[in-house]
């Protein structure tokens, strides 16, 4: 492709800009790419790119999946570029690609791992053909941005390049059907004891056959539309899985994955089903990149889910767990609520779900709360529910509609003051569920809870 003068002005300007930003200790992970695209709108198309590009998209799990792929590759001495510290929209992708070329535009790296926001597909894929495009899942997300799954899956189908090989969640009937003409590889988990014939979630976005409109028959449901289904009147059905978890051994924290009649064993670093899907996605991608079972597993064992997403510690015999529960993302929150209710023993739950990013605009569209399974918090094992933050009145109404006994609920505007009412009697675990934009608050609350637990012993 002929590059032209605009491209070189964009390249050199962005390169110089990167140096200047770094000199001033500023984050050079967005603006260089933004500048480059402004000067040369098809900059992503014109810049020389690594031979192999893995793009990771999907509603939930893309950051975790990218982080784990990158950590395992690094542990195996691979050299690559990634947007781990940058944005996942076109400017972030452009900045990352920029970091992979020298001043004259020559590519220095053979591999790129890129997290790509689903909504950014029209601004990225017309200019870049990923070798592999991973779609972790497609669920209801921020309704203000992503509207609904039909909209997102149509965007992906429209813009994904025909030569890209897709790595798809075969247990997700929406994600597994994007870009049907493309070559595809499916990962999935065989039927689990906990799967059911009935869906107990509010949101379920594929109920009828997309080919003939007949009502789908779900052989089993794991959660929402994750599971296995078939159409009784045509050939539409869940796909055959290429990387299939045949045995999920949570007691020994191992899983067996079958691919091409060969079975391999991997260690699990989390017992949470969403993280198990993330690990499976990572293994599928790395196998496609020709890493061996041993290479992957030895590095996998060293991994842990990052503290900003999940942490646990035991203080005076009580477990304190912090868990990211992305506000405005109904399925992510529902999965966390489900995890909490099924976690062994009695617990107290502190909810800090305000989307402070959105609150900065003066309010928050709380419609997402009613796509979220707050009903899971109405569980006998949850002895206390503390609701705090700007939206405490909305959260309070929501949990009351979910049927939570008023006697169990503390609701207050001030987070620290609400936490003072934490009742540590009769609970073994304290869950602090927090939004992505509440990290400092989460740390303050966690410190307060730790202190309360320590003081309990002294008393």
């Amino acid at each position: 492709m002929k590059k032209g003068i605009k491209f070189y002005i964009a390249l050199w300007g962005a390169k110089i800009g990167t140096v200047i930003l770094k000199l001033f200790k500023r984050n050079a992970t967005f603006f260089p790419g933004k500048f480059a695209i402004k000067i040369c709108p098809d900059f992503i198309g014109k810049i020389n790119k690594p031979k192999t590009i893995v793009a990771v998209t999907g509603t939930n799990g893309k950051t975790t999946v990218c982080n784990m792929i990158e950590d395992i590759l690094k542990d195996n001495n691979y050299i690559f570029i990634d947007n781990k510290y940058g944005s996942n929209i076109d400017a972030g992708v452009a900045t990352t690609l920029l970091s992979g070329v020298n001043f004259w535009g020559k590519c220095k790296r053979d591999l790129a791992i890129l997290e790509v926001d689903e909504r950014s597909a029209p601004k990225i894929y017309p200019y870049m053909t990923p070798t592999y495009l991973v779609c972790t899942n497609l669920f209801r997300d921020s309704l203000m941005r992503n509207a609904h799954t039909e909209f997102i899956s149509e965007i992906l189908t429209k813009y994904i390049p025909k030569d890209t090989t897709l790595i798809l969640n075969g247990d997700d009937l929406i994600a597994s059907n994007i870009a049907p003409e493309n070559k595809r590889i499916y990962f999935g988990i065989d039927r689990l004891e906990t799967d059911s014939e009935k869906c107990e979630n509010i949101a379920r976005d594929i109920i009828v056959c997309p080919k003939c409109n007949s009502k789908l028959v779900y052989d089993y449901v794991r959660y929402n539309h994750i599971g296995k289904a078939h159409c009784p009147n045509c050939d539409f059905r869940s796909p055959d899985i290429d990387y299939l978890v045949t045995n999920l051994d949570l007691q020994n924290m191992k899983m067996h994955i079958k691919n091409n009649n060969e079975e391999e064993t991997y260690d699990l670093i989390s017992d949470n089903i969403i993280n198990i899907y993330n690990i499976l996605t990572v293994i599928t991608v790395l196998k496609q990149l020709n890493l061996t079972n041993i290479q992957i597993n030895e590095s996998l064992k060293k991994q842990k889910i990052v503290d900003t997403r999940y942490s646990e510690e035991i203080v005076n015999g009580k477990k304190i767990i912090t868990h990211l529960s992305k506000g405005m993302n109904p399925i992510a929150c529902s999965r966390v609520f489900d995890y909490v209710r099924k976690y062994k023993g009695n617990k107290a739950v502190i909810l800090l779900l305000d989307d402070l990013h959105e609150e900065a605009n003066g309010s928050e569209n709380t419609a997402w709360q009613y796509d979220t399974d707050y009903e899971f918090l109405n569980d006998d094992s949850i002895k206390q529910l503390i609701i705090a933050g700007v939206r405490y009145l909305d959260d309070y109404v929501r949990v009351r509609i979910a049927g939570v006994d008023d006697k169990k609920i503390v609701h207050e505007r001030n987070e620290l003051s609400a936490v003072e009412k934490l009742n540590l009697n009769n609970v073994e675990t304290i869950f602090i569920l927090h939004d992505l934009y509440s990290m400092e608050l989460k740390e303050a609350i966690k410190a307060k809870v730790e202190l309360m637990v320590k003081n309990l012993e002294e008393k």
Partner: protein, 231 residues
């Protein structure tokens, strides 16, 4: 008392189905009937007090229009007979003349109201809303790909105090004729607006109390105060 929820397996986006769950809490003795898209709507033959239709995907809009078209006359008759309809989000577009795509192609609607809508799929409109309904203020959220056009000056639902009407230039939100209420507001409208819910119960001659009255009114007052502060 029978309340019919139309096509809940499809028309259930943005938490709007909780309008009905909440109404059920207010009217524990009422019968809530869920009619699937492949079933014959009950309002054709039965005495239904209220009909609810929630927001849906763009493809579903076409299916719903096809399903309801044979019953256009019956729907008009029910509207004339003061049957309560609550139609939220883009479900309102089903009752208009047509929905226009970006390429100019049109999907013919039921044509019950003299309005039409235009899609702009890459530009989603999001806003907060306050509007006047009789003697109360209604709060809510808008999140949509479409804007509606046409003259609703004689049959609007709300006078806009904050936010937009059926389009960015309009100060009149939604469509109202007798007890038919169509609004672009999405989400848990009845939970956010307990005073409005009270009026709906009155419109149905329902002997019911709004559920969680104190709690919902406290949240309503706080939101109203907050939204009034917005520029």
């Amino acid at each position: 008392m029978k309340i019919e929820i139309l096509f809940p397996e499809f028309c259930n986006l943005f938490g709007d189905m909780y309008n009905m769950k909440y109404l059920k809490m207010c009217l524990p003795d009422a019968e809530f009937i869920e009619t699937a898209l492949d079933e014959k709507p009950k309002f054709i033959d039965e005495d239904i007090k209220m009909i609810y239709l929630g927001p849906m995907t763009e493809k579903t809009q076409e299916k719903v229009i096809t399903r309801l078209k044979p019953y256009k006359k019956r729907i008009e008759e029910l509207i004339d007979n003061n049957v309560l309809f609550l139609v939220t989000g883009n479900a309102i577009e089903v009752f208009g003349k047509y929905i226009e795509n970006e390429d100019g192609s049109k999907i013919e609607g039921l044509g019950i109201f003299d309005v039409y809508s235009k899609r702009n799929m890459m530009n989603r409109h999001n806003s907060y809303f306050i509007g006047k309904y009789e003697d109360i203020e209604i709060v809510g959220f808008k999140s949509q790909f479409t804007m509606m056009y046409g003259d609703n000056s004689s049959n609007y639902f709300l006078e806009v105090e904050k936010g937009i009407g059926i389009n960015k230039e309009s100060k009149l939100e939604g469509v109202k004729k007798n007890n038919f209420i169509g609004t672009y507001l999405i989400g848990p409208l009845l939970i956010l607006n307990p005073l409005f819910t009270e009026k709906l119960l009155q419109a149905m001659d329902a002997k019911g109390e709004i559920a969680l009255k104190e709690e919902t009114i406290a949240a309503y007052n706080e939101r109203l105060k907050e939204l009034k502060k917005l520029a």
